[in-house]
């Protein structure tokens, strides 16, 4: 069986099939919405996974890029007359530029210092989004005009399920390609040891920056999708708690696993929906579940499951 179909391609094939078949089990539009949210956050998580899982750089402020992408599709049509899809691209470009400008100095920091610097960056973006009410509508947020492609106004959860699902598969494919490319190998090398890879001729600073920019663009697109799906956006899309949520998705699902990012996103989006019956005790249970996963499946869910299944074979 090995050899004639690449394992990753197979995984993507299963995913695509799942995306097509899963709706057969959906009783209502609510499920489409939840699934669309899973793919949207999954997309952002894949990007963050490239940064945290493969390149080993901690980012606690990544929701800032979600915010840039989200507000781009809000501000573009409303204040600048730029159509939705162009604003989406514009948002991605702006995120990339911000990542380049901010990335160079920030990525020189290591470990917890990098964490606090990215934290500060995320907070700065959230503060600007909250305060510049003339552009952003302030803390109450602003409404986002629906995406319009010719005559088709995209607003149903079903449509966004298809769009975000397809985009996720595309994003996962690109991520796999990147990981297997020379840049990807350089990045994995620097995760293991920056000094060794530097000695081997890897341009460490450039590799880190490239990954930072790519992860920023992933998050920006995800943020734009979220804003367009909701038709409304508020500054807490870029907030500290949102950044922590993204990082948790990556760590929970498995650092260094693209499918793991989706699993992490699925858990953190779906779990609060299933725990609503706990009412006041919901947060306690959520916290315990997070801790439990990290203690017992400390490499993340997908790598741990893979290991467990592999362990069973002789």
């Amino acid at each position: 069986m090995r050899g004639w179909v690449s394992p990753r391609l197979a995984a993507l094939g299963v995913l695509a099939a799942l995306i097509v078949l899963l709706p057969l089990t959906f009783p209502s539009a609510y499920y489409y919405r939840v699934a669309a949210l899973v793919f949207i956050f999954g997309l952002a998580a894949v990007g963050l996974n490239l940064l945290m899982g493969y390149a080993g750089q901690v980012s606690l402020g990544h929701a800032g890029f979600l915010g840039i992408g989200g507000y781009a599709v809000a501000i573009g049509p409303t204040h600048l007359g730029v159509p939705g899809w162009a604003s989406l691209l514009g948002g991605a470009v702006i995120s990339g530029l911000v990542a380049i400008i901010v990335g160079r100095p920030i990525l020189r920091l290591k470990g917890h210092y990098l964490a606090v610097a990215t934290l500060g960056f995320g907070l700065l973006i959230a503060i600007v989004l909250t305060n510049e009410a003339g552009w952003t509508g302030g803390p109450d947020g602003m409404s986002v005009p629906r995406l319009q492609i010719h005559d088709w106004r995209i607003r149903s959860s079903e449509a966004w399920y298809a769009i975000s699902g397809a985009t996720f598969v595309l994003g996962a494919m690109l991520a796999y390609n990147l990981i297997d490319s020379p840049t990807g190998r350089a990045i994995r090398a620097l995760h293991d040891s920056e000094i060794a890879s530097g000695v081997l001729g890897v341009d460490v600073a450039r590799a880190k920056l490239v990954i930072f920019v790519i992860s920023a663009i992933y998050a920006s697109v995800a943020g734009s999708y979220l804003a367009l799906l909701n038709g409304h956006i508020t500054p807490d899309i870029a907030g500290f708690l949102r950044s922590i949520e993204l990082a948790a998705m990556v760590v929970l699902g498995g650092m260094g696993s693209v499918i793991g990012a989706l699993v992490g996103a699925a858990i953190l989006v779906v779990l609060p929906q299933t725990l609503t019956w706990l009412h006041d005790y919901e947060h306690m249970v959520l916290g315990l579940i997070l801790m439990g996963f990290m203690i017992f499946l400390r490499q993340g869910i997908v790598p741990s499951l893979v290991e467990a299944l592999a362990g069973r074979r002789p």
Partner: protein, 290 residues
Amino acid sequence: MAEFLQFFFSGLTVGAVYALVALGFTLIYNASDVINFAQGEFVMLGGMSTVFLAVAGVPLPLAALLAVIATIVVGLLLYHLGIRPAREASAVALIMITIGASIFLRGAAQVLFDKRFHSLPHLFGSEPIRIGGAAILPQSFVVLAGAAVVVVLLWQFVDRTLLGKAVLATAANRLAARLVGIDTRRIVALSFAVSAAIGAIAGVLITPITLTSYDVGTLLALKGFAAAMLGGIGSTLGAVVGGLVLGMLEAFSAGYLSSKYKDAVAFLVILGMLFAMPHGLLGRGRIERV
């Protein structure tokens, strides 16, 4: 001049709060390399427990003492149930565990306590002290004194006692410490207990100024963490300096620049300082083995 002094006092007040929180971060990090995001919840538990015990009729000093003890127990539980079982986990996974713990503790606080704001009486009355045209609350000095006492006690502990030396050794190199016979697990448990105590005491001291509620922990942890990193994680004095600097940045930005952007300015300056001094103000560079 009176204006400048008032901003300075404000910075001192807020900075002392951050300093106490930052000290808790530094202590645990030193002994175990763990960044404990539940540190903010220790502060919250100290304040809220004292309030609720006092309302139930327990005299205030006893309520505070019980609150601190309860928080120490929580800290030890966090170590034994959360951190110790996950020994081989990566740094990020450990951070996630403490974040999960903070979510759990916040959720528990909502159920045990309530969702409103509470205060505690000032230790020396709420009449402000007027110096040079500016007014500062006596409680601000109490908080500062608290931070100073903690730093001095920690320093003496590390300098004079055998247990303290063991903590120092664990901080320097855990493997070597184990090899010379130090039970590093007990040392790390001790650091969690002491951090919890510092957090709880901080909670009791700052509540008269900042008020308390079930979710004060989040923002305090954020700023305490930033302050600890600014001062150089690993340095006790750095935590205090970092806290005070952050407080000053906020106060002076609010006063002289723009109150809307005071947090932004403070973080920008922190970022700038980190770029210039990648190990924080007083942190020691770590030597990385290749």
